[in-house]
Structure formats: structure tokens, C-alpha cells
């Protein structure tokens, strides 16, 4: 449990003249489930983008499995998966094609080609779409034809199908109805084996707004104005902590 999988050392990120992240130090250990709390604009999305390598920090080091991010090869980098706040699905592709995109890292060019021609197998994609409670009538629908909630679940299915060890999620429960949230949250926090049963717990960092969803998390990080204000066990979270960041 104590193996550090992700580490941020003195990370700062400046955009134009604004300091978005300010000297952040963070260690994420294997199997930890962390909730990231903070107001809109506090730097949560930027922090996630730095963690998955999309944004290069202005200062500091990002380490994945004790190696600098730049030194990692493609396969090592693919051990992180992200559910973006704005989903970032490919609008012109169907829901099942988008979910299959999650398998691109583990397959060759021919698979990508077959996926676009609609001649690849969608078996695995359908399994994950079912797990995310997506009805089979929407499998071949284009993303632009889906509702907000359906799009959200396609993005989650695409992320889960990657089978990555580390999950980063930026407000993944937006657009979902309350009944679905629990199902999706459980799916996200535990890996799934071939028989559709839950296996070992995942390492996850999930940014949230709703405090009632904190139950299944081990730790809570509070961020404000690009600075980490607290990084504590969930059981130790008190109102005083929340007052600092909200």
C-alpha cells in the first residue's frame, strides 16, 4: 500500500501572468483512493492535467513509478487513465467506437483502422458500456446524438476499458442521476476482472464537489488558489478544513 506511484515535487504552473499551481508537493501511493476538493477555479483540473502529463509544469518534477515523466515510454504512460471534466470524446464517432478508443494503447494500428471501419469486435466495449448502464440502443449512435448523462458514461466506459492502474477523474459525476452515481463510483474505484467481478482496488484521484460522495475514499485533499491546504485521511476531515477551501 505504501509504494508511491505518483509524486509531485515542488510543482508550480504559470499561465500568462497567473500562478495556477503554487509549489505543490504530493505523493500518491498504490491503491489509495483520494478525493480532491476545492472551489471552481482552485486549480483541480490543472493539477490533474499535470499528473497525467498533458500540461508540463513551469517548475518542479512529476514522477510516475519513481521515474521522471519525460523518461517514460508510451506503455508506462498508458498506466494512467483520465476522465476529463469536458469528456473530450470524438463527436463524429459512435459511442462504441469511442469506448474502443480506450483500447488503442494495447493494440496496433490495424485495430484503430478496423475500429474506424466498424469491422472490429465491440464485445469488450459493449461489456463496459453495459457496466456503465448504457442501453444497447445507443451503442452505434454518434456522440452528438447522446444526452449529457449518456456522454458522461461513454467517457467513463472509455476510461475503464483501458484497465489502467491509476485513474484520474475530474468531476466525473456531473450529469449523472443519483442512482447511477453509486454504481459508477464503485466501478471507478475498483478494477474489474474478466468475469465482471471487482478485483483489487484502484489507485484513484477524483475531483469532487459533493461531500456526500466522500464515503469510499481513503484520503481527502483540499486545494485553494493553486495550493494544497490539507491532505488528510477522510476520517479526520472536519468542518474547519472545509472552511479553509470554500
Amino acid at each position: 500500500m505504501n509504494n508511491t506511484v505518483l509524486e509531485l515535487k515542488n510543482i508550480s504552473y504559470k499561465y500568462k501572468n497567473d500562478l495556477i499551481l503554487n509549489k505543490i508537493n504530493l505523493k500518491i501511493n498504490s491503491g489509495e483512493k483520494i478525493a480532491l476538493l476545492g472551489k471552481s477555479g482552485s486549480g483541480k483540473t490543472t493539477l490533474i492535467s499535470v499528473l497525467n502529463g498533458t500540461i508540463k509544469p513551469t517548475q518542479g518534477e512529476v514522477k510516475l513509478f519513481n521515474k521522471n515523466f519525460e523518461e517514460l515510454d508510451r506503455k508506462q504512460k498508458s498506466k494512467i487513465t483520465t476522465i476529463w471534466q469536458d469528456l473530450r470524446l470524438i463527436e463524429d464517432l459512435s459511442a462504441e467506437q469511442n469506448v474502443n478508443c480506450g483500447l488503442l494503447a494495447k493494440n496496433n494500428f490495424y485495430f484503430a483502422f478496423k475500429n474506424l471501419l466498424n469491422i472490429s469486435s465491440f464485445k469488450k466495449a459493449h461489456k463496459y458500456m453495459q457496466l456503465c448502464r448504457l442501453h444497447n440502443s445507443i451503442y452505434d449512435k454518434k456522440i452528438r446524438q447522446l444526452s449529457g448523462g449518456q456522454k458522461q458514461r461513454v467517457a467513463i466506459a472509455r476510461s475503464l476499458i483501458q484497465g489502467s492502474n491509476i485513474l484520474l477523474a475530474d468531476e466525473p459525476f456531473n450529469n449523472l442521476d443519483p442512482k447511477l452515481i453509486t454504481t459508477i463510483k464503485n466501478l471507478m474505484l475498483e478494477s474489474i476482472d474478466k468475469n465482471n467481478t471487482k478485483k483489487s482496488p484502484k489507485t484513484a484521484l477524483v475531483s469532487l464537489h459533493r461531500l456526500d460522495l466522500l464515503n469510499d475514499f481513503d484520503k481527502v485533499i483540499g486545494i485553494r488558489d493553486g495550493k494544497i491546504f490539507f491532505n488528510i485521511k477522510r476520517n479526520n476531515l472536519k468542518k474547519i478544513h472545509l472552511d479553509k477551501i470554500y
Binding site: 497525467n52 502529463g53 498533458t54 508510451r74 506503455k75 504512460k77 498508458s78 494512467i80 487513465t81 483520465t82 476529463w84 469536458d86 473530450r88 470524446l89 470524438i90 463527436e91 463524429d92 464517432l93 478508443c101 480506450g102 488503442l104 494503447a105 493494440n107 496496433n108 494500428f109 485495430f111 484503430a112 483502422f113 475500429n115 474506424l116 471501419l117 466498424n118 469491422i119 483501458q162
Partner: protein, 500 residues
């Protein structure tokens, strides 16, 4: 005194002022020697020659035209897509390639695009001799560059967030590239592909005038022998081909969800690439290049072209482009606005169709029957042909426009012409001008055709230099042509951006 206020509507009519110098020169150059020929030309339109022999020739010539058009289209659309990909910024982002390479490729394609297929045609004929494949090559070379620009522009619209998302999956780079570009490429092909096929066929007809074969060659030979009845038989058969292909194109729908069709397209894609490469190798190794043994020719040949004459030719080409563009912009709204009734509309549409149908060399040669060669005559030809194209767009847009403003204005007692101008045209003026800016790029390139036939500008000089194998002059003229087209494209690009 009130200041003159320019808006999009008035800007659409202002270029008609080019008719003042143009009309003055045309009136001065008028002669009546060929009036009888002109009369005969017009009458023959209603009395084309029809017999077994000509029908067999038409079938043979149309076959050649379709074959050259189809092959050059296939090659140019496929290689256009490939060059479009390697000249789009998404390619460089995915593969982390330095951006300067992207600029070099784009610049190279801009130069190739700036030279008209007719110029490529006469250049290749001079080097290689008359050959069926010259038509395909002459069209494919600039068309690949034109198509690549369209594909690249579409690829630039890919959402950066989609790129980041696919990038974050850490898929193999080629898989990421393919996934991102697939739909923009397919959509461009769907929206633009068949239009380019029509362009290829039209270019084949024009190149036929310079000997590459097809119906264009027959049209030119009929004109040279003043056999107008035969000429009109070819023109009407060409009209039938264009109308029929237009109807077929409207019916064709590319369904990419159809797996068999998709696999067929992929097969055509790879076969075309393999065929093109093998043909290219064959072309290189089985060619004696009679008149162009090596690049040293370029330096051995001398140039008799004086600086003053050369600058004069450049100026002539620029003036020719400006005058033609002026006619192409202002003529359609002016004529449609003045003759604003249903019967006139039908006649204008037929006239515009004829202007699009009849190749520019034929229009020019016909006008030469009663007017001496001049910049004005060449500009009138090019302007009228392009006015036929701009008027088609204007009619389509006006017909699909909401007419409530127009009806409301008429009900207030405002005259029909004013209501049309303010209630209908004014709403189209901005997009019409944006299209005309795009069209003027093509007009600059097309000055080569009328230049060669009408003895004006750089086009004429190119023909002269090629005939005397003065390769240094050819190179200078080509550079000048290319520079004018590139500067024109830059200016028009700015205008288009401000209008859209």
C-alpha cells in the same frame, strides 16, 4: 455633402466601374471582318451536325475526357489527402516534428498550386511530347496541391481537446493520427470530392485545346477549321455530360457505415497509390526527355526578355486579373437585379450555364471574330466565364433565402428592384463577396489560359518561350506567375477572413 458609405452591397456593385476602361478599349478595337462568322457561330448552336461519324467521334472523345478526368481526380484526391495530412499541424503535434518542416511543405504546395494546369500541361508537352498521360499529370500536379489545402484546412478544425484526450490514452502515434483525422478526411471527401471530379473533367476539356486529347481537342480542331456545326455538336454533348454527371453526383451518397463499400474505397485507395508509384517509376525510366535532357539546359539557354518588357507583362497579367474579377463580381447581381422577373431569370440561368459550359478559349476565339486581341477582350472572356460560375452560386443562395423582407418591402409600395436589392441581395452580399474573393484566386491562375490564346500577359510569353525552348525565360515567367498567384492568394485570404 454626404460622404459615400461603402457597405457589402455597394462593394458588390462597385467593381462594375472596370467596364469604363474595358468598354473604351473594346469599342476602339472593334472590326466587322468576322461578323458573318460570329453570326454563323450563333446559328450553328441551333443546328448542330449529327451523323454516324460524329457520334462515334463524340463517344471516343468523351471516353478519353472521362478517363483523363477520372484518373487525375483519383490521383489528386488521394495524394491531396496524404499531402493535406502532412501539411496539417495535427500531424506535427502527434509526431513531435519541428514546425518549420510544416512551413516548408506548405510553401512548396503553395507554389505548385499557384501554377495553372494549362501551364503545367504546355510545359510537360514541351518536355515529354503529346501523350495521354500528360493530361493526367498536368491536372494531378496542381490539383494535389489544391486538394491538400482543403484537406489541411479541415484537419485544422480538429478540436485540440480531442487531440489531448487521444494523446493521453498513449496509443501508438499512427493509431492516434488515424482516429483523429478519419472523420474530417471522410467528410471533406463527401462534401468536396465530387465537385473536384467535375473540375477535373472541365480542366481535361481545356487541356484538350493544347493537344492532350479528349473532347477539348475536337472542339479546338472544329474551331480552327471554322466548322461551327460540328463544334456545337461537341459543345452540346459536353453539356449533356456535365448535366448528367451533375444529376448522378446528386444521387451518390457515401455511406461509410456500409462495411463492403468502405473496404472497396480502401482497396481503391491503395491500388491508386501503388499504380501511381509504379507509373511514376515507369515514367522516369522510360522517358528520353527529348527537349529537356538535364537541368543544365536551364543555364545554357539565354533569355531575350528585357526587364521593361517583362515588367509590362506582369502588369498586364495583374490588370487582366483585376478586370476579370471586377466583371465576375458585379455582373451577376447587376443583371439579376435589373431583369428581376421570372422569365428573365430563366434566360439569365441559361446564359450563365452557357458561359460555364463553353470553355474560355472558345469564348475568346469567338469574340476575336469581331474584336482585336487586347487585355480588355481577354478580361471580358475570363470575367464572363467566371460570372457564369458566381451567378450560379448567387442564384442558389437567393432561391434558398427567406423572402419575408422582400415581400414586406414590396407590400410597402417599394419598387421591385429596390426591394430585391435591400430585401434579398443585401443579406447575401457578404457571403457572396467572400466567395468572390475565393474565386479571384482561380481567376489569377486562369489568366494563363486566356493569355496563351489571346496574346496577352505572361501566358502568351510562356507559350512563346516554350516554343523557342528558351528554358531560362520559361523559368522566369513561371516564377513571376507563381509570385503573382501567391501574393493574390495572401490578399484574398485576408479579405476572406475579414468577410467570414
Amino acid at each position: 455633402m454626404n460622404k459615400l458609405k461603402l457597405n457589402y452591397t455597394s462593394l458588390s456593385f462597385l467593381p462594375i466601374l472596370v467596364c469604363i476602361p474595358l468598354g473604351y478599349q473594346l469599342i476602339n478595337n472593334i472590326h466587322f471582318g468576322g461578323l458573318k462568322l460570329f453570326q454563323e457561330f450563333l446559328i450553328s448552336a441551333f443546328n448542330p451536325k449529327i451523323d454516324n461519324e460524329i457520334i462515334i467521334t463524340i463517344i471516343k472523345r468523351l471516353n478519353e475526357t472521362i478517363l483523363i478526368g477520372l484518373f487525375s481526380w483519383l490521383v489528386s484526391i488521394i495524394f491531396g489527402a496524404i499531402f493535406g495530412i502532412i501539411s496539417s499541424n495535427i500531424f506535427y503535434k502527434i509526431f513531435n516534428i519541428p514546425n518549420f518542416l510544416y512551413r516548408i511543405i506548405r510553401f512548396f504546395l503553395t507554389i505548385i498550386r499557384s501554377i495553372h494546369e494549362v501551364v503545367w500541361g504546355i510545359l510537360l508537352i514541351q518536355i515529354y511530347g503529346i501523350n495521354f498521360s500528360i493530361g493526367i499529370l498536368a491536372i494531378s500536379i496542381p490539383y494535389i496541391a489544391i486538394n491538400s489545402k482543403v484537406f489541411a484546412e479541415q484537419l485544422e478544425t480538429i478540436d485540440y481537446k480531442s487531440f489531448e484526450s487521444i494523446n493521453q490514452i498513449n496509443a501508438p502515434k499512427f493509431s492516434s493520427l488515424l482516429t483523429l483525422i478519419w472523420n474530417p478526411i471522410i467528410n471533406t471527401f463527401k462534401n468536396f470530392g465530387l465537385y473536384r471530379l467535375e473540375c477535373s473533367i472541365r480542366s481535361t476539356v481545356i487541356l484538350g485545346f493544347f493537344g492532350v486529347g479528349g473532347i477539348g481537342t475536337s472542339i479546338f480542331l472544329s474551331f480552327q477549321t471554322l466548322n461551327f456545326r460540328e463544334l456545337w455538336t461537341y459543345l452540346w454533348s459536353l453539356a449533356i455530360l456535365i448535366i448528367l454527371s451533375g444529376l448522378i453526383f446528386k444521387k451518390i451518397k457515401f455511406n461509410t457505415a456500409n462495411k463492403i463499400l468502405s473496404i472497396f474505397f480502401i482497396a481503391v485507395f491503395f491500388i491508386t497509390i501503388l499504380f501511381s508509384f509504379s507509373y511514376f517509376i515507369y515514367f522516369i525510366f522510360n522517358n528520353n526527355f527529348e527537349n529537356f535532357n538535364s537541368f543544365s539546359f536551364l543555364f545554357k539557354s539565354s533569355s531575350d526578355l528585357g526587364l521593361f518588357d517583362f515588367l509590362k507583362l506582369i502588369l498586364e497579367t495583374i490588370i487582366l486579373s483585376l478586370l476579370s474579377t471586377g466583371i465576375a463580381i458585379s455582373f451577376p447581381p447587376l443583371v439579376i437585379g435589373i431583369f428581376n422577373n421570372n422569365t428573365s431569370k430563366i434566360f439569365i440561368k441559361i446564359f450563365a450555364f452557357l458561359l460555364r459550359l463553353i470553355p474560355t478559349p472558345v469564348i475568346l476565339l469567338t469574340l476575336l471574330t469581331f474584336n482585336n486581341p487586347s487585355i480588355s477582350l481577354a478580361a471580358l472572356t475570363l470575367g464572363l466565364h467566371n460570372a457564369g460560375i458566381t451567378s450560379k452560386l448567387l442564384f442558389t443562395n437567393l432561391d434558398s433565402q427567406d423572402k419575408r423582407n422582400y415581400i414586406a418591402m414590396k407590400s410597402l409600395g417599394i419598387s421591385k428592384k429596390t426591394s430585391w436589392l435591400l430585401g434579398l441581395f443585401s443579406q447575401q452580399a457578404k457571403s457572396y463577396l467572400a466567395y468572390c474573393a475565393y474565386r479571384s484566386d482561380i481567376i489569377i491562375r486562369e489568366t494563363a489560359i486566356v493569355g496563351v490564346i489571346g496574346s496577352v500577359g505572361l501566358g502568351w510569353q510562356l507559350q512563346e518561350s516554350l516554343s523557342s525552348f528558351a528554358w531560362q525565360e520559361v523559368a522566369i515567367v513561371m516564377i513571376a506567375y507563381s509570385s503573382i498567384a501567391i501574393v493574390g492568394e495572401l490578399i484574398n485570404g485576408k479579405i476572406k477572413n475579414s468577410l467570414t
